[in-house]
Amino acid sequence: MRSWARLIPNYFLLTLFLLVVILPILGIVLSAFKTNQEIAKGPFSLPARLNFDNFVGAWVAGHFNNYFRSSVIVSTVTVAVSVFLSILLGYAFGILSFPGQNLIYAVLLIGFMVPFEAVVIPLYHFLNRLGLVNTYWALILPQIGQSISFGTLWMTSFFRTAPQELVDASAMDGCNRWQTLWHVLWPLAKPAVLTLVVLFFMWTWNEFLLALIMVQDDRLRTLPVGLAFFQGRYVADIPRMAAGSIIVAGPIVLVYVLFQRYFIRGLLGGAIKG
């Protein structure tokens, strides 16, 4: 009983800090279910009923259906390719040995520190010459480039800790390097890979600057850019803007809730290793 009483101030503090995070989010979620008349009544009133008109409005009239499709395509391709390449890179740097290994590794890691601001200007002109501006490739390829920089770091440090006996044993059994990777080490790598999947997904889904610059065709815009343009056009339409925000944030929050451990491990651990 005494120990419980001592915990109360702790929970009080945590709840206070948590509320500061949650209340603004809750406010925008409630706004998404209100009518414009209800918005005019003030921010603290509750919506009369759970109406999804604003979501339909944002989805169809606000073109969020297009934005959503773009985001899904760009994220899926980027994450799949980046994860696959990161596994190969990590395997090569962590297990294999080849000339120039350390130098190439160091060069790859620079990309992790370099912000997109430092690449977008020439990248735009480069992709323009290739005829890739205004295509999904203009979003996918640079995002892969930056993702695998972190992916190399992450997977290399995983493979360096992989048990040597397993690798040796698979050599005895006559596996080649490729089979060793996919038959012997892959089962162990799954948690590390899952962390990469959720991090890459979050980065790609939320990416803004690249998508803002590389794509002008409204049908190809991703969700964050679509939302930014939507709010530029309909500043006063708070309910629909709120609904749009939920469409943008919903999928990532869902993945976050399901894979919370991997997210936090990646963001904390990734930062520590970086």
Binding site: I22, G27, F93, F98, G111, A242, V253, Y256
Partner: protein, 297 residues
């Protein structure tokens, strides 16, 4: 690293096959553009015409006397207070108050505090624009409700309040991250340290000063690098909330790069600003890492 050896009959270049696709994409879409940004910064170019004029360091010389750039940079430095210093102080305070005890339900609080980290900054911007909305926003409505009418402001439109208003959003995004980081770090510190300190008669403040804070040095490094880089790179929020206004009062370096390169067609100048931003970020990361590794010895 004795485990790295070649298998019988294996080419020593086998690794190249594994890294080739990734390295090619990286070279083309990351490294080449970075180097090209640096090269472009020595030219005057409008982005359309074929001929660019080599002007040496003139773009950089201009930065030193350019009030726009200096103003933008000073705003990023002020953001370090909001993105970095306040969240880290809050994180340390919370971590030291909660102590080392594992609380039931901590996973839940951790998940909630971390939430702003995963949401798109555009969504965060839209949300806070609503909060700051002078007519419909909850902030002014709340002030009126508690009788502080006189404090209600057009927050983002006010010349003096716009910058701290955008800054406080950075605090909102970052403090949960810092708290979770430091709480996780506290779990690592062996309990005997504190028991020994108590035997020696050290009070709680002394324990914080001599045990907790020094032990959390790696977490300080991570928190500083992550939050300072975030403060220096602010773009999405400013784009959504203010576009640098009113009157450049919330102009930040990344937005200046965007504006100069893609709206004013001053490509060389924008490249110089981008290069300086990247150098500052690399320098700060390097200094913090250096400080970390030295103090570990």
């Amino acid at each position: 690293m004795n485990k790295k050896y070649h298998w019988p009959g294996e080419s020593r270049f086998l690794g190249y096959l594994y890294i080739l696709p990734g390295v090619v994409i990286y070279l083309l879409f990351v490294l080449y553009p970075v180097l090209e940004t640096v090269r472009t910064s020595f030219y005057r170019w409008d982005g359309f015409t074929v001929n660019r004029t080599f002007i040496g360091l003139q773009n950089y010389r201009q930065l030193l006397i350019d009030s726009q750039f200096l103003q933008a940079l000073s705003h990023n430095l002020i953001f370090i207070i909001f993105y970095s210093i306040i969240p880290i102080v809050l994180g340390i305070i919370l971590a030291s108050l909660l102590g080392r005890r594992r609380l039931p339900g901590m996973t839940f609080f951790r998940a909630g505090l971390f939430l702003p980290q995963v949401i798109s900054m555009v969504v965060v911007g839209v949300m806070w624009r609503w909060i700051f909305n002078p007519v419909f926003g909850p902030l002014n409505a709340f002030l009126k409700m508690v009788g502080l009418n006189s404090l209600a402001r057009p927050w983002l439109g006010d010349f003096n309040l716009a910058l701290p208003s955008v800054g406080i959003i950075g605090t909102w995004v970052m403090y949960g991250f810092c708290m979770v980081l430091f709480l996780a770090g506290m779990q690592r510190i062996p309990e005997d340290y504190y028991e020994a300190a108590e035997l020696d008669g050290a009070n709680e403040v002394q324990q914080l000063r001599y045990i907790t804070l020094p032990s959390l040095r790696p977490e300080f490094g991570v928190a500083l690098i992550t939050t300072i880089i975030a403060a220096l790179r602010v773009f999405d929020l400013v784009y959504v909330l203010t576009r640098g206004g009113p009157g450049d009062r919330t102009l930040v370096v990344a937005f200046l790069v965007y504006r100069a390169a893609f709206q004013q067609n001053r490509i060389g100048y924008a490249a110089a600003v981008a290069t300086v931003l990247t150098l500052i970020i690399l320098l700060i990361s390097f200094l913090i890492l250096r400080f970390q590794s030295r103090s570990e010895e």
